[in-house]
């Protein structure tokens, strides 16, 4: 368990899901800040622009999104400089129960964990406590 508070970035094309994630994150009491993006490309640009590599940030990423989906996002993320990547932890959050999706998630080194929707405070807290 890390003592410092965490930053969160939520990427989901559903505004409701972003909203829920924000509330759930707030309820864990472990968040310093939360940013939501409904377009993964904007999130990527935000991350690439962020030069502060000291702060630990949790990325919660949906799979099915128009324009740039979760897989495409992770692939683009893995091309970022290593010292930039190291301050992010990626959780994939999806309603998908498709095996191909689940197996594909496991193949990305940058992805820490797969979470099923809906996100609840209990699951998130349990995960964060293991960090």
């Amino acid at each position: 368990m890390i003592s410092q508070k965490l930053h969160f970035i939520v990427i989901d094309d559903s505004k409701l899901d972003c909203f829920i994630a924000e509330k759930v994150i707030r309820n864990t009491g472990m968040s310093e800040s939360t940013h939501s993006f409904i377009d993964a490309r904007e999130a990527l640009a935000y991350i690439a622009d962020n030069t502060n590599t000291e702060v630990q940030t949790i990325l919660i990423v949906d799979i099915h999104m128009p324009m740039m989906n979760g897989f495409e996002f992770v692939e683009a993320f893995e091309k970022l400089p290593a010292d930039m990547q190291k301050c992010y932890i990626i959780y994939i959050l999806s309603s998908s129960i498709n095996e191909n999706d689940l197996n594909r998630v496991k193949n990305y080194p940058a992805v820490r964990h797969f979470l099923s929707k809906p996100l609840t405070s209990n699951t998130l807290t349990a995960l964060l406590e293991r960090l």
């Binding site: 309603s95 929707k117 996100l119």
Partner: protein, 363 residues
């Protein structure tokens, strides 16, 4: 058998006289091709892959008929193979039939009636086989679509449901009424999204499975329907909706399929508007003259980026995160046009608007 399209029958024999006799006897019934050697016969089939029946003599100097069939089968499996032979070769014939290399054998010396009945039987078998191949291909396509469908259902149907479930869970711990209200709005959107998806699925299956019901179309009436249906949306979102209908003479078509096209094009035009644009408009022009209907739907909304123009008609493709969409609408439009032998073109510029032009021939 239609005189225009006689079926192709290839006869292979090393004796020229037999070839001529065969051709003379059957040239009226079939399109007879002849070959004097296995090599020549192979060449003929390569040139005419639609040969339906190959008749071949068993005893030839370079190879036996059975050997020839075994060879040609590898490359051209469709033509029906028939062997001409005398009783002395019966052992090799039986083994060839059992191996599946030959559909039937014809005893020498043959009569015209023997050959004719054998070829006609063979042709029937060929037809059944080709039909099966076509059906198989259709089935493959249907399976592929079903896979895609099942995959999307988990996302497009479960997605909104799980969002609502999550919201319910979160709402339990919220006391602030304004926050609850905000969530209710978002939940409503989720419900609408799911409903929209289900309606699209309904349209999709109606079109896929339903037979066309061709009736006289009154475009004026169709247009008025759309005006009524969209009245509230126009008012709520301050969009000017104009329609022009010019119909000369009768136009026949399937009304449900036409409605699917109009509904989807218009609902997209209304949906993908620029929020801050003070002069939002949607314009529909229908011209039905000389048996062709041209429907033009123009808006000054958000537009579609160039690189997406080719993909917008794909199932489940979405070009934007704005607004509720299932990625089903334009796919259904394309499917509907396929049924009506129609075409669609799109002309769209980001932040300027989109113009869809549909042409449909009268049935």
């Amino acid at each position: 058998m239609s005189k225009i399209e006689k079926i192709k029958v290839l006869y292979l024999d090393d004796e020229i006289n037999n070839l001529h006799a065969f051709k003379a006897s059957f040239r009226l019934d079939y399109n007879v091709l002849i070959a004097n050697s296995a090599a020549e016969a192979t060449e003929q089939v390569d040139k005419n892959p639609d040969v339906r029946v190959i008749v071949c003599d068993q005893r030839m100097p370079d190879m036996t008929g059975v050997e020839f069939f075994e060879q040609i089968r590898g490359k051209h499996s469709m033509p029906i193979r028939m062997l001409l032979t005398g009783y002395t070769d019966i052992e090799s014939v039986i083994s060839a039939i059992n191996k599946g290399n030959i559909f039937r054998y014809i005893k020498k010396p043959w009569t015209d009636a023997d050959i004719k009945s054998a070829i006609d039987e063979g042709n029937k078998f060929y037809m059944a086989n080709s039909m099966l191949a076509i059906k198989n291909e259709e089935l493959q396509k249907a399976y592929a679509e079903l896979d895609k469908f099942a995959y999307s259902v988990t996302h497009d149907m479960r997605g909104p449901l799980l969002s609502i479930l999550g919201a319910v869970d979160v709402a339990r711990n919220i006391d602030e009424i304004s926050e609850i209200r905000e969530m209710l709005d978002l939940m409503e959107k989720s419900v609408k999204k799911l409903d929209n998806f289900i309606q699209n699925v309904h349209d999709y299956y109606n079109m896929k499975r339903g037979e066309l019901q061709v009736v006289d179309i009154d475009f004026e009436e169709l247009s008025e329907d759309q005006e009524d249906m969209n009245k509230i949306i126009c008012k709520l979102n301050n969009i000017k909706f104009t329609t022009t209908v010019k119909q000369e003479g009768a136009f026949r078509g399937d009304i449900i399929t036409l409605k699917v096209i109009l509904n989807n094009l218009l609902s997209n035009a209304f949906k993908y508007q620029r929020k801050n644009n003070p002069d939002k408009f949607v314009d529909m022009v229908i011209e039905a003259t000389r048996g062709v209907a041209t429907i033009t739907v123009t808006d000054n909304g958000i537009g579609i980026p160039d690189n997406h123009h080719g993909k917008i008609f794909n199932m489940f493709f979405r070009a934007t995160t704005d607004e509720i969409g299932s990625g089903f609408g334009l796919y259904n439009v394309k499917d509907a046009l396929l049924k009506l032998n129609g075409t669609i073109t799109v002309d769209s510029v980001v932040d300027k608007g989109s113009k869809f032009v549909v042409t449909i021939p009268s049935k």
